[in-house]
């Protein structure tokens, strides 16, 4: 009996010791997308600043948002929502204002990406990286290369397509192909997109927005929509793959660092954001993940073939046709209804 008591006591001590160690200062809780920070950056940050990083990941804005709601905006100090979630979360009072006096590296950012409509004067957010969704395909195996979204509906792509498992992306593609805005809130247009997508369903081999490059690299799929960064990595592994920005225009997004309203470690959070804004770190992010950087100072450090890559940095004409994803308000309910119909009717 005594021994049992001792064991229980020891276990209890271990638990409280673990809890106490965690409560100390010099910690920052970062909640980021999966595979979105280069290897070694977190370690480098901890080494240089002495701040411990607790790092957790999510695979969609929605999951991050839901988790934060459940936690009452507490628990994390830095999050990386997409632009359209920044406006939504700021409106709902879920974000803390950014103190730019604590971000000396803020000046490295390109003014072209600041003061955007989703967050005037960057009150709540700092650009992290940006990118877009286009088409990746293996023309060698297909015998043809798609050049626009509408091409994916052609019979030769039957059973070989990958599409993102994200309703905004998939509906964005269909809306673009139909000539509408990807932020369209007109129920008729959304329904039209749904009917159009229904015709695409038999061609789809898999939905994947966790790591869409993997089915391409495993040669499970031959064409599909994909984030440019993922495409960049996949093309490095399988040279036969080819990426295009569709003629209708790509689906652009910008992910921004923000601080939840209930964050406890504000100084550490700013230190982390400031660290990410350093040109050498921003450069690493481009090199490892192939996403474009809003960091002007980092651009100067990049190799020529990276800086001129049209996969990572779309040209002016593409940019003009493409659109950034925006908050669509209550229309999301309509999107969800048709998304469920799309998948439920299989």
């Amino acid at each position: 009996m005594k021994r049992t008591l001792l064991i229980v006591f020891a276990l209890a001590c271990a638990v409280f010791a673990a809890g106490a160690a965690r409560a100390g200062s010099g910690v920052v809780y970062v909640y980021n997308w999966t595979e979105y920070i280069p290897e070694g950056v977190i370690e480098q940050f901890s080494e240089e600043t002495g701040i411990k990083v607790v790092y957790a990941t999510y695979e969609s804005n929605e999951a991050m948002y839901a988790k934060l709601k459940m936690l009452g905006n507490k628990g994390f100090d830095v999050i990386v929502p997409s632009s359209y979630f920044v406006s939504k979360m700021a409106r709902e009072g879920m974000l803390h204002e950014i103190d730019k006096s604590k971000l000396p590296n803020f000046k490295n950012l390109d003014a072209a990406y600041l003061d955007q409509p989703f967050d005037k004067d960057n009150k709540y957010s700092v650009p992290y990286t940006w990118g877009g969704t286009g088409i990746l395909a293996n023309p060698g195996k297909l015998g043809t290369m798609p050049t626009k979204w509408a091409d994916l509906w052609k019979p030769e792509y039957n059973g070989v397509l990958l599409v993102q498992d994200d309703l905004r992306e998939v509906f964005g593609m269909a809306l673009k192909a139909k000539g509408y805005s990807l932020n369209d809130t007109d129920p008729k247009h959304i329904e039209e997109a749904y009917k159009y997508l229904k015709k695409l369903m038999p061609s789809i081999r898999t939905f994947n927005s966790d790591s869409p490059k993997v089915p391409f690299m495993n040669e499970e799929v031959d064409a599909g929509m994909i984030w440019n960064g993922e495409a960049y990595v996949a093309m490095g592994e399988v040279p036969a793959l080819n990426f295009v920005w569709p003629e209708e225009g790509g689906i652009l997004w910008m992910d921004c660092m923000a601080i939840p309203a209930g964050a406890k470690n504000l100084d550490e959070a700013h230190a982390f954001i400031n660290f990410i804004l350093r040109p050498d770190i921003a450069k690493k992010m481009v090199e490892e993940w192939g996403y474009a950087t809003p960091n002007k100072a980092a651009m100067a450090l990049l190799d020529d073939d990276m800086r001129t890559s049209r996969v990572i940095f779309p040209d002016k004409a593409t940019m003009a046709k493409s659109e950034f994803q925006d908050d669509i308000g209550d229309a999301i309910v309509i999107y969800e209804k048709y998304w469920n119909l799309l998948k439920g009717e299989q």
């Binding site: 276990l11 638990v15 909640y31 695979e59 459940m70 936690l71 507490k74 628990g75 994390f76 993997v214």
Partner: protein, 255 residues
């Protein structure tokens, strides 16, 4: 000839169960990062895994939770099984039904309902909710194993002990407990496994400062490209096999 037929019926199942694990372990030594082609032997994925402090911390967290949850669930499960076996009381059927539902309810429903409970209680997701949730889904499994063990033995023994004037506590301590011990151990082991394997319920009830291994594995598997996942699986399979054989040997010695 008979052996041949027996092998015909047994082998396919074993092959089916072990082939994927064997392939996975083999590829954990492959030096190529993405492709499945064999590009030479390496230990580097194991080194990388060991250097991944976050993963190691998550693993330690998981071991803590699994040990605590299995122990608490075993204690409560034993009390429950004994209560159900020995006493007739109001709500006994209800309790039995409740246990069954708890055992069978889909993870997703349990995760969601516990989350609602913790939100209603104003409890932040994290260590305590996680522990409570794990204990809750382990209890019915312990109770079931212990109960079936109790069913299988002679109730006269207990009566004899009581006739001899042993109080309930002493009867429990000196008669019931030794008899059910193997079942308690089995229940503990099962609880430990369930706790180490749970993704869905944990996802809902754990918070940012208590990251656990199954959730990390979930993220890694969804990304599913790098061979460090293979190395991790190889280690986990290795640990399991070791544990099983050690316990097997201990049991044999005891006999």
């Amino acid at each position: 000839m008979r052996i041949f037929w027996i092998a015909c019926r047994l082998l396919p199942v074993y092959v089916f169960l072990y082939l994927p694990l064997a392939v996975l372990i083999t590829f954990s030594f492959n030096s190529s990062k993405y492709s499945t082609a064999w590009k030479g032997f390496t230990w580097k994925w194991y080194a990388k895994l060991a250097a991944n402090t976050q993963l190691v911390e998550a693993a330690l967290n998981s071991l803590t939770i699994a040990t605590l949850a299995a122990s608490i669930a075993s204690a409560l499960g034993v009390l429950l099984a004994v209560a159900l076996f020995r006493y007739r009381f109001k709500g006994r059927d209800l309790m039995q039904a409740g246990l069954f539902v708890l055992m069978m309810s889909p993870d997703i429903v349990m995760g969601v309902s516990l989350l609602l409970l913790f939100v209603a209680m104003g409890l932040n997701p994290g260590f305590w909710p996680l522990l409570t949730a794990h204990v809750t889904f382990c209890i019915p499994f312990v109770a079931a194993t212990v109960y079936s063990r109790l069913k299988g033995f002679d109730p006269n023994l207990i009566e004899a002990a009581e006739d001899l004037g042993a109080g309930e506590f002493r009867t429990f301590r000196h008669v019931i407990l030794p008899i059910i011990m193997p079942a308690v151990l089995a229940g503990w082991l099962l609880s430990f496994t369930l706790s180490m394997d749970d993704v869905i319920i944990s996802f809902f009830v754990t918070g940012p400062d208590f990251e656990i291994l199954p959730l990390r594995i979930f993220a890694m598997v969804k990304m599913g490209v790098k061979p460090d996942v293979n190395a991790l699986s190889a280690i986990m399979v290795g640990i399991t096999v070791c544990c099983v054989f050690v316990s097997h040997l201990l049991m044999r010695k005891r006999k």
